[in-house]
């Protein structure tokens, strides 16, 4: 009961923080909706990503991964790629997350040690990943990309024209590779009749 209350209060606090950021951006800094939504989705995505790699209960890690991918789909919409956002929702939230949740249910034992989720190299790994993030951010800020000043919005018909004219062969190769991966996955996960159950 207490933990449920704490969870509800924490969720409401995060929600208020996120909407507060958006309201401040919209009202006081006079920026448009896309900026505010980008802040909100970016914050939710990074927060959920941190939850994925730090939480103790692995089922909750999987659910936080769904939240992270949903926020990333929102970022794709802001970026002007609606078909990628739809594919993100269908492929990642619909297929891969469900696959991972099923694999979690198949591989967790009751006596699995739930207190030690990190290896002994966790602190060097944290330092290394912070260094990666800082170096990447510095490199991005220091580089002149010669980019356009306005982001383009991709219409789905233009995308499909490019996909099915220029990129038919990669499309077919990817579909054959998916078939091979499905067959390989079934073969690998199949229970041998004489093997250990």
């Amino acid at each position: 009961m207490m933990r449920t209350l704490i969870g509800i209060v924490l969720g409401l606090a995060i929600l208020g923080f996120v909407t507060g950021i958006a309201a401040i951006m919209l009202i006081f800094l006079h920026q448009d909706w896309a900026d505010a939504l980008l802040w909100v989705f970016g914050f939710v995505m990074i927060f959920a990503g941190l939850l994925v790699v730090t939480m103790r209960d692995i089922i909750r890690c999987g659910l936080a991964m769904i939240v992270c991918f949903g926020a990333l789909a929102g970022i794709y919409v802001i970026l002007g790629a609606p078909l990628i956002a739809a594919a993100q929702v269908i492929v990642y939230i619909g297929a891969i997350s469900v696959l991972i949740l099923f694999a979690i249910m198949l591989t967790q034992t009751k006596d699995a040690p739930s207190r030690l989720v990190f290896q002994s190299q966790a602190i060097p790994a944290a330092i290394a990943s912070v260094i990666i993030a800082v170096v990447v951010a510095l490199a991005i800020a220091a580089t002149d990309w010669h980019e356009a000043t306005e982001r383009v919005r991709v219409a789905t018909d233009a995308l499909s024209t490019v996909l099915f004219n220029q990129y038919v062969l990669p499309f077919e190769i990817v579909s054959v590779m998916l078939l091979a991966a499905v067959i390989g996955g079934v073969f690998l996960a199949k229970r041998e009749p004489g093997g250990p159950s």
Partner: protein
């Protein structure tokens, strides 16, 4: 903010760093696979962002096509990786990677 390439690229870089931390630090094999998915998503975001801010006419559509291909490859990778994890779990009865030490002895 939403019209600058740097914001999206920094988001992608942070997501990639989070994924690399999870891959190096977690003990559970499925957690490591989830971290790989986070890293793939970060790279995918950077691909789409580069495409949307390109100056040529068809760059955006080409970036989207490449992101779709990456998604398909990520789906294949998740399928095979989870099947391998389940097959190993059936033999060793544990999902923790630091107990997979058969080749160390």
């Amino acid at each position: 903010m939403s019209n600058s390439l740097d914001a999206y690229l920094i988001l992608a870089g942070i997501l990639f760093a989070i994924g690399s931390f999870g891959f190096l630090a977690r003990r559970n094999a499925i957690s490591m696979l989830m971290s790989i998915e986070l890293m793939l998503n970060g790279v995918n975001l950077s691909i789409v962002a580069f495409g949307q801010f390109g100056t040529a006419a068809t760059t955006a559509a080409q970036g989207n096509v490449m992101a779709l291909m990456v998604m398909a490859v990520a789906a294949a990778e998740a399928t095979v990786g989870l099947a391998i994890v389940i097959a190993i779990y059936r033999n060793r009865k544990t999902p923790l990677v630091d107990e997979y030490d058969a080749m160390r002895q």
